[in-house]
């Protein structure tokens, strides 16, 4: 077996724990093997929210947690030649790169090389209405839709170009999640772009690590059934990959959480549909022949991965300005709480009818039925179980008219005086919605550009 390459993950989404990357980098440094660190922080809607922010303030529009996540590990990664890859550019990769440069100078690292990858933003270059639709929001009215952002999920190739040019930090906008793991592996091992079996190993590595702690005990622990050590300090994952395609999932040392067959199975199937065809821009991953083996404490080997040729198309996700969402909540508790909650729910819906507000609305009885319920409240209306000690009543209303939506949400506030006996704890808010639609575009139509410059150069 050849010397493994280590791939660490420092964050699985834009709201992740800010202190997670430190033990990962400490472990990578201690092990002294060639390594890379990646962050996946760009969810489907994150880029649209970033675009809205950029419109308000042109120098913004990148991952807001960029600095707090990077600062504690940047110097160590630079000194130990551990490149950092991240799709933290969001809507504004050049601004994110400039921020990394300023951070590097502040930390006394003027020679740190920053690789900027652009080209994922296709909002100006491609006419969306000419493209086949891949996935669509049912609620999207294309006649009135106002485009906010359109970004292609680019693959690992431009990221490898940045690494080959010596980048210590690679800043990209929208990439496929697995590409962030595939790129350092291809760069290090020199795997060929049509070596589908090896690229499948890279894609599985990225898929298992991209959500950070989800493979090391996060959204896994279920007290009394699936317990994990120290859930307040779950260690983030580190994969060990060999040139021949060996893959072991492990985690940062001296942390909580765990890696076992159960955590790896849950994450392997996460957001996966057909197990024979998990499509990425670089390879189509097939896990139907996959076998898992516990090879040590917090170490699981992944065998039997297969890959087939990458698709000719890339996915483009477009975000549109949507309607408005108004939400309001109040609580009732103690004797007769359920009857008071039901009456409150009916009165809220009656108020919207009497005022003829142009909104679509639903009511939840939190503590009785909400997240599993339908818009018509089939579960709470049909509830015949025991009396709950307290219930929180939630109204959600959506519509194109902001004032009408806000008016609906405020009906919850009015319950503080007009509601049932013992109504309290009102909260309400009205927020804009983003709608998304995905398209397929030929990959040739999404050229990418890579520039690598030192922090000193960029700041000059």
């Amino acid at each position: 077996m050849s010397t493994p390459f280590l791939v660490g993950n420092g964050g699985g989404f834009s709201g992740d724990r800010v202190d997670a990357p430190v033990p990962v980098v400490r472990t990578l440094v201690k092990r002294g093997l060639p390594a890379a660190l990646f962050f996946e922080t760009l969810g489907e809607r994150t880029v649209a929210l970033a675009q809205l922010e950029r419109r308000r303030e042109p120098s913004l529009g990148y991952e807001p947690m960029l600095e707090p996540l990077l600062e504690p590990v940047l110097a160590d990664c630079f000194r130990h030649r551990i490149p950092i890859l991240r799709n933290y550019g969001a809507a504004n990769p050049p601004a994110a790169a400039a921020l990394v440069a300023r951070l590097a100078l502040r930390l006394g690292l003027p020679g740190l090389r920053i690789g900027l990858v652009t080209g994922d933003d296709v909002s100006a270059s491609i006419a969306l209405d000419q493209l086949p639709v891949h996935e669509a929001d049912d609620s999207l009215d294309m006649r009135a839709a106002h485009l906010v952002a359109a970004n292609a999920y680019i693959g690992a190739e431009p990221l490898v170009r940045a690494l080959a040019a010596g980048a210590d930090v690679v800043v990209a906008g929208r990439t496929s999640d697995p590409a962030l793991a595939i790129a350092p592996l291809v760069h290090h091992f020199g795997w060929s772009w049509d070596d589908w079996r090896m690229l499948a190993v890279g894609a599985a590595c990225g898929h298992l690590l991209e959500c950070g702690s989800q493979v090391t005990g996060g959204v896994f622990w279920d007290p009394g059934f699936k317990d994990i050590p120290d859930p307040a300090n779950i260690g983030f994952p580190i994969a060990e990959v060999t040139r021949e395609g060996g893959l072991v999932i492990a985690k940062a040392e001296e942390t909580g959480g765990l890696v076992d067959l159960r955590t790896v199975k849950e994450q392997l199937l996460y957001e996966l549909h057909d197990p024979a065809a998990y499509i990425t821009p670089d390879v189509v991953l097939d896990i139907t022949g996959c076998r898992l083996e516990q090879v040590g404490r917090d170490r699981v080997a992944v065998h039997g991965l297969r890959g087939t040729a990458r698709p000719d198309t890339l996915k483009v996700t477009a975000c549109f300005e949507g309607s408005w969402l108004g939400e309001g909540e109040v609580s009732v508790a103690g004797p007769n709480a359920l009857a008071r909650a039901r009456a409150t729910a009916e009165v809220l819906l009656e108020r919207l009818r009497r005022r003829s507000l142009p909104v679509r609305a639903r009511v939840d009885l939190i503590g009785v039925a909400s997240v599993h319920d339908s818009d018509d409240g089939a579960l709470w209306r049909g509830y015949r179980g025991p009396e709950p000690p307290e219930v929180r009543i939630r109204l959600a209303a959506e519509g194109a008219d902001r004032d009408a939506v806000d008016g609906a949400a405020r009906e919850v506030l009015a319950l503080l005086c007009c509601g049932t006996a013992g109504t309290g704890g009102a909260r309400w808010r009205t927020t804009p919605r983003i709608l998304t639609r995905s398209y397929l575009v030929l990959r040739e139509r999404v050229p990418t550009t890579v520039t690598v410059r030192t922090a000193e150069d960029m700041a000059a």
């Binding site: 489907e44 929001d137 849950e266 609305a361 939190i366 959600a396």
Partner: protein, 105 residues
Amino acid sequence: MMEVPLHAVAHSRAGDKGNRLNMSLIPYDPAHYALLAEQVTAARVLELFRHRGATRCVRHDLPLIHAFNFVVDDVLEGGVNGSLNLDGHGKTHSFRLLGLAVRVP
């Protein structure tokens, strides 16, 4: 044979893509794989989500890792961007699945 909730013998995680939900189902004991394959059919799982407007459920079997993957269409009331639900991603649905009753020896 006694009847227990799936939660007593298996675990699950849910994920979304648009208006489509997927849920893994993994027995704690691989010996239970066959009885889950027999009892937790795609039709039963679809029935669990009928009130949400689900139109289709496909079960993918992964016998080498003793796991199932259920893919349910049109269950997320428009998905994370369109839904009025508190949980637009449908992450909590794995535990609706785990409430399903199964008979075990």
